[in-house]
């Protein structure tokens, strides 16, 4: 018998945790992007505010969803950091001449080698991002009317923020970092689950790149679009 605790702390089990939480976060990010695409509709924010009001209408259920998401993020982050620390300990004496790839099918690149760094940056981004829109929506958000009911004017908050080029730069940079994280993460999640056949891996790895670029472009287009629209 393989006890669950031993299985999940094993080199393979801990990557199962990383994969499954990672895939969950990817699904969240896809939904987040699809909803936010309403920002591109030039209707003065009506669609976007209606979308945001839908979440407000959930009432206490929204907090349950947010806590669930937070739990997945914390699991992915802490498990990832702990795995990274173990990997560091596995090579106490570093190479004087750092590892150079021998090519072939190797995915040794800046995306794959810096998952902990891009991941930590994204965690830092998430704290700022949640404060920036989620917390400030409650504290400084102004009211507007959506479908005849009072709702927060999240659109005004978003548009107001992206008049500032510093915010545009920070969000754009963060989405580029996200692209690097997903470039390796997408394929890695599937490989860690053993869901990979030699005949698929090249295509999946290529799809990971397209997916990462599309997702990042979808997101980073928003601050740039709103900045240019306001200018």
């Amino acid at each position: 018998m393989l006890p669950l605790k031993r299985a999940l702390s094993s080199p393979i089990g801990r990557k199962f945790v990383m994969s499954i939480s990672g895939i969950a976060l990817v699904l969240f990010v896809i939904v987040h992007l699809l909803g936010n695409l309403t920002l591109y509709i030039p209707d003065g924010g009506e669609s976007f505010n209606r979308y945001a009001a839908g979440f407000e209408a959930l009432g206490p259920m929204l907090y349950v969803m947010e806590l669930g998401l937070l739990a997945v993020i914390l699991l992915h982050a802490f498990w990832g950091i702990s795995t990274w620390l173990r990997n560091r300990r596995a090579r106490p004496e570093r190479y004087a001449k750092s590892i150079a790839t021998k090519g072939g099918g190797s995915n040794l690149n800046i995306a794959s080698r810096n998952m902990a760094i891009t991941g930590s940056f994204l965690f830092f981004f998430l704290i700022i991002h949640v404060w920036h829109f989620r917390v400030r929506k409650e504290t400084v958000g102004e009211k507007t009317t959506v479908n005849g009911q009072e709702a927060t004017d999240l659109y005004a908050l978003v548009v107001g923020s992206f008049e500032n080029p510093a915010w545009v730069f920070f969000y754009t940079l963060s989405m580029v970092v996200l692209a690097f994280h997903l470039r390796h993460g997408f394929w890695s999640a599937l490989q860690s689950l053993g869901a990979m056949k030699p005949r698929w891996s090249k295509q999946i790895y290529a799809f990971g790149l397209i997916f990462a670029i599309l997702l990042a472009l979808g997101f980073l287009g928003m601050p740039i679009y709103l900045f240019l629209a306001a200018a």
Partner: protein
Amino acid sequence: MAQETMTVHLKVWRQAGPEESGSFQNYTAENVNPHMSFLEMLDVVNEDLIHKGEEPIEFDSDCREGICGTCGFVINGQAHGEERGTTVCQLHMRSFSDGDTIVIEPWRAKAFPVIKDLVVDRRAFDRIIAAGGYVSVGTGPKPDANSIKVGKDVSDQAFDSAACIGCGACVAACPNASASLFTGAKITQLAMLPQGHPERTRRVREMVHQMQEEGFGNCSNIGECEAVCPKEISLSNIAKMKREYLRAMFSDS
């Protein structure tokens, strides 16, 4: 006709013993025949050192035909040097240019402590094998040779995994010093064949546990192991190991 020779500058890791601290020493190898193997070049450097009354550079080697898995060190950040699908004994000096500076380091991993200079202790691999990388056989009369049929495609795949010579390059090249390709190949080889099936659950459980106990890192699917493997063992062996482990997690035995 005079043969063209070359000169290379070596930066070699020298470490007197497991507890000593090591450092890089510079050597110059002159009159190197380009058709020498890398190890033959080191043999010549060592003869020179012995004549001068200095300690020769210690390194492992045995068959020098690229099939035993004894030799191996890191050359300019690449396990077994820049040529793919070969061990360092089959790397020839013609791969280098006259006047090159070559940095030579031992495999670096917590689980592979340095014994001396470029020689590392790879018994961690033996202990992973001892944990389950075998098929138990009963004593008594020998079984009929072809009593269990194995398809050609399956036996070919098992053979590809069995080609692993346990040199340790996969660990050396992995940014996480993970032994997943080695362990994955050993598990896959036996998981493919009917003879390996009765013990497959216990095998993957114990071998993966031993791999962790030895202090190897975790696989992050970078795939540099596959690129440096002298036997070109595929990353799919790691995927197979993950499936075997998943199966063991949900198995009753």
